[in-house]
Amino acid sequence: MKGKFKNYDFFLLFIVFFLIGWSVLNIYSATVHEYSNLYIKQGLYGLVSVFILLLFPLINYRKVVHFAPFIYVLGVVMLLSVFLFGVTILGAKRWISLGFFTIQPSEFMKYVVILITAYILGVRKEKVDLKTAIIVLLIVSVPFVLTLKQPDLGTALTILIPVVFMLFAGGISHRYIVAGITAVILSSPFIWEHMKDYQKERILAFIDPQADPFKSAYHLIQSKIAIGSGGITGKGFMHGTQSKLFFLPEQHTDFIFATIGEEWGFVFSSIILTIYLIVGLRMLYWSNKIRDDEGKYILIGTASLIVLQAFINIAMTVGMAPVVGITLPFLSYGGSSMVAFSLMVATALSVIRVYREEKLHF
């Protein structure tokens, strides 16, 4: 038992612990003024996450991957159940209610998709060929479409991101990559046609915020002002005025970075940004060392998801990307997101632990 803990990547573990603690602190600041006890809830989710991060890596990730098809089916069933018994919040059906709390299956689906992709790619030891890629994409398209239908464009995209990176790392031919990008560009007018009005508005608002500054671009401008006004050292904990005048629910979920930027300034917001880069690079570093394909893919998938989701979210808050509803990993309010990301990191930690252990034995 003790020997197993020794092989954890403590650097990664503590960085994530730091993010969780930081999350509770900022949600306290973002919501407590409105008599909200969300920070207590977030604290509980944080506690659950800490346990997951400490104990889950003890399980050999190969066992988890072994069950990937089963977990995948379970995940799809959960997504389907959202349509049947889901709770509607702000016009979208994304949650299942379990009495005193709700869960958002699409958040967990990101993890499931990484597992199933690692499972498929891991079985085929060779370079990823077109056939394998198509199989993977077909399997992933089920949760992708289901999530898109909720409607939840942001989460649907983040389900796809790690898969694309895993296929790329698997060495799929350049030709297919170019073909894929071309296909997306060509089909974009078609996609545009099928987007909801509010989604179109957000994209238009992003392209030209001044044209319609107070409807769809409201978030963008407010959040930019909040972050910018934080300056170098910030207005101080609990002293952000801009983020508190949002009157919009997202200040503690998708726009938590605005609170951080405003209250803690450039010093801390750049540190947070750097932390995500470090987490990503650290996982890539391990994946380069490991010879086991399944483990490698899990690390690459997890790294690319965390880094890209974080970067897209931050880009959105600083006005560099259209507003899509995705969380800032570990920092945004929300139990499903935090627990799902903790499961991912815990699995990555398991990969690293097993690698270190086996290396010692050889």
């Binding site: 790392a169 910018g228 006004s229 170098i232 508190k244 450039f266 995500y276 970067f311």
Partner: protein, 594 residues
């Protein structure tokens, strides 16, 4: 797997990082001061503009309820936190407004959530507030719709119901609600809330550091609620109320319906309360007084009270007996002063007995011993079957009815009383006593199909509503629930019997025979407390018998079915009949009945 590709991924991460890093550097370090100033100067605030609710009219277009603008003062805690004490004093000194403790607490603890300090300012207060605006920095004046009830609406507080702010639960369930939007909480306001409510508008404004509105950026107009026309006749409602009040009785209910389409013409629960005061908010003292009042003004007796119907239920029993062939229309049965089952004796209310009577005669004098006999022959199950056939024990319109009658049968008794059904229970049942209990509204169900030729209709309160999308009024049609398969001749027999109640030699409602318009009906006296001796006098109000009278007028082509219930009113003939008389008299006087 190629490790070269890992390097490409790492490079992509790094590029993303650098772009965002430089963006943060640009926003926070290079343009930090610019944005700081912007954040101090410009706050964009989204304000919700509440819509006026739809108007409520009676069937003839008499206005009952409408919205008028009302001014209120509000603030945001973060703006006034530091000088709360000062503001509190100034509000008291200049405007004479006291800030309550709970509002003071909210100001101390809150931040950006709006807090309303005082609603419904007087003209004088508005003037002073504007003149002394510099003393009230951080406080704002705004207009909100206020529900106003007209003079006619005062007679129907239970029917109209009241409006209030949505609860947390309601807010979670319905995204179209805002915390300070008035929604229907009971009565018509609640039942037809979907028409009356409308939808809120929004306004984005730029406010300066002191919270003053600098300019409006965009606006989405609120959509006002649709107007509705009720089936209620406000004049009849007023007459009904005044008749009840003048009778000096303490408590009861009156329901008036049109038997042809089952539209509700008047619905009174007595005593009433002041609906306007209720809408504007009562003081704790007033609220407590209402709760303590022994005659329960807050309770809607017409729809929610369950009482034994007494003899008015004999109509149902008579009809069942005719239809089932237990007794023929002109068949006379000897009905004495007593009816015996074994050692148990059931007496007639009139110790002289009724002699040989047919069903019409039995209705005329409300002969208990006649109904004991046919009731026992029918059996409790067949009585219940007919009661249910008429819609008793059922919500014919679940929007309006909240409670159903209690229709007892052996199964019911076994479950709730835990005793078997005795023959004596059937005897009591056949004169509307015992376990049977109905609401005053249900009493109309007994007669509506009899008067309209056997149709069970859905009771209705809505005559028409304004359809916003079609821009015109939509008239609501009567719905037929089912046609009752009963012989029409028996209806005529019953009606004749009820005619004799008023015009017969020994009728129990002879008082009504002097009215200028032909009418008919049935008295009912329901025992609340078992008398020890026949002539025992009961002093306590709450032990006295309930009084009923159901009447229809005019006799030939009934347009009104009037049911009067007097809680602990001693006797139908004694209290319910005089009230009915005064109602019909006044309606005739005003030309409502011809």
């Amino acid at each position: 797997m190629k490790s070269g590709r890992l390097r490409i991924i790492a490079l992509l991460f790094l590029i993303g990082y650098l772009i965002l890093f430089s963006r943060l550097f640009y926003l926070q370090v290079l343009k930090g001061d610019f944005y700081r100033k912007l954040s101090e100067k410009n706050h964009i605030r989204i304000m919700v503009v509440n819509p006026p609710r739809g108007k409520i009219y009676d069937r003839n277009g008499i206005l009952l309820a409408y919205d008028e603008p009302s001014f209120q003062i509000y603030t945001y805690p973060y703006m006034v936190k530091k000088r709360l004490k000062l503001l509190k004093d100034r509000l008291k000194e200049i405007l004479g407004i006291e800030i309550k403790d709970d509002i003071y607490e909210r100001l101390k603890k809150g931040y950006a959530n709006k807090v309303i300090l005082k609603k419904r300012l007087t003209q004088e207060q508005i003037k002073k507030f504007i003149n002394h605006w510099q003393d009230f920095e951080g406080l704002f004046l705004e207009v909100q719709p206020r529900r106003v009830y007209t003079e006619y609406a005062r007679y129907m507080p239970h029917l109209l119901g009241y409006v209030g702010y949505p609860s947390k639960n309601e807010l979670n369930k319905n995204p179209m609600l805002t915390p300070d939007m008035l929604i229907g909480k009971s009565g018509v306001e609640k039942i037809f809330d979907r028409y009356l409510r409308g939808s809120y508008g929004m306004r984005a404004v730029v406010v300066d550091a002191k919270g003053r509105i600098v300019k409006t950026l965009w606006e989405k107009q609120p959509r006002r609620g649709s107007d509705i026309y009720l089936t209620i006749d406000a004049r009849v409602q007023k007459i009904v109320y005044e008749a009840f009040k003048q009778s000096g009785q303490k408590s009861g209910a009156v329901v008036v319906v049109n038997p042809k389409d089952y539209s509700i013409i008047a619905l009174l629960s007595y005593p009433i309360y002041d609906i306007q005061k209720f809408a504007d908010g009562l003081s704790v003292k007033e609220w407590k007084a209402l709760l303590k009042n022994r005659y329960k003004p807050l309770f809607n007796k017409a729809l929610d009270g369950l009482y034994p119907p007494g003899s008015i239920f004999k109509i149902t029993v008579a009809l069942a007996a005719l239809q089932e062939g237990v007794v023929a229309p002109y068949q006379k049965i000897f009905s004495g002063a007593e009816f015996k089952i074994g050692k148990w004796v059931y007496r007639n209310w009139d110790p002289r007995g009724c002699g040989y009577v047919d069903v019409m005669g039995a209705l005329e004098v409300s002969c208990d011993t006649y109904f004991y006999q046919i009731g026992v022959k029918l059996g409790s199950e067949r009585i219940s079957y007919y009661a249910r056939m008429f819609g008793l024990g059922e919500k014919l319109n679940p929007q309006i009815e909240k409670r159903v009658s209690r229709i007892p049968d052996p199964e019911w008794k076994a479950e709730f009383i835990g005793e078997p059904w005795y023959l004596g229970d059937t005897v009591n049942y056949s004169i509307g006593q015992g376990f049977l209990a109905i609401t005053p509204f249900d009493s109309t169900k007994i007669l509506v199909p009899v008067l309209n030729g056997g149709y069970l209709l859905k009771p209705r309160l809505l005559k028409a509503y304004y359809d916003m999308s079609k821009m015109r009024f939509i008239t609501v049609k009567t719905e037929v629930i089912r046609k009752l398969n009963l012989k029409r001749f028996y209806f005529r027999v019953i009606k004749k019997g009820l005619y004799d109640v008023v015009y017969g030699k020994n009728g129990t409602a002879k008082l009504l025979s002097t009215l200028p318009v032909k009418n008919a009906g049935k008295t009912g006296t329901a025992q609340v407390f078992r008398h020890k001796k026949r002539k025992e006098k009961i002093e306590k109000w709450y032990l006295q018998n309930h009084a009923w009278f159901v009447d229809f007028v005019p006799y030939r082509k009934p347009e009104y079915l009037i049911s009067v219930f007097v809680e602990h009113g001693i006797g139908g003939a004694r209290t319910a009949v005089p009230i009915t008389k005064s109602i019909i008299q006044k309606m005739y006087g005003e030309g409502l009945i011809r």
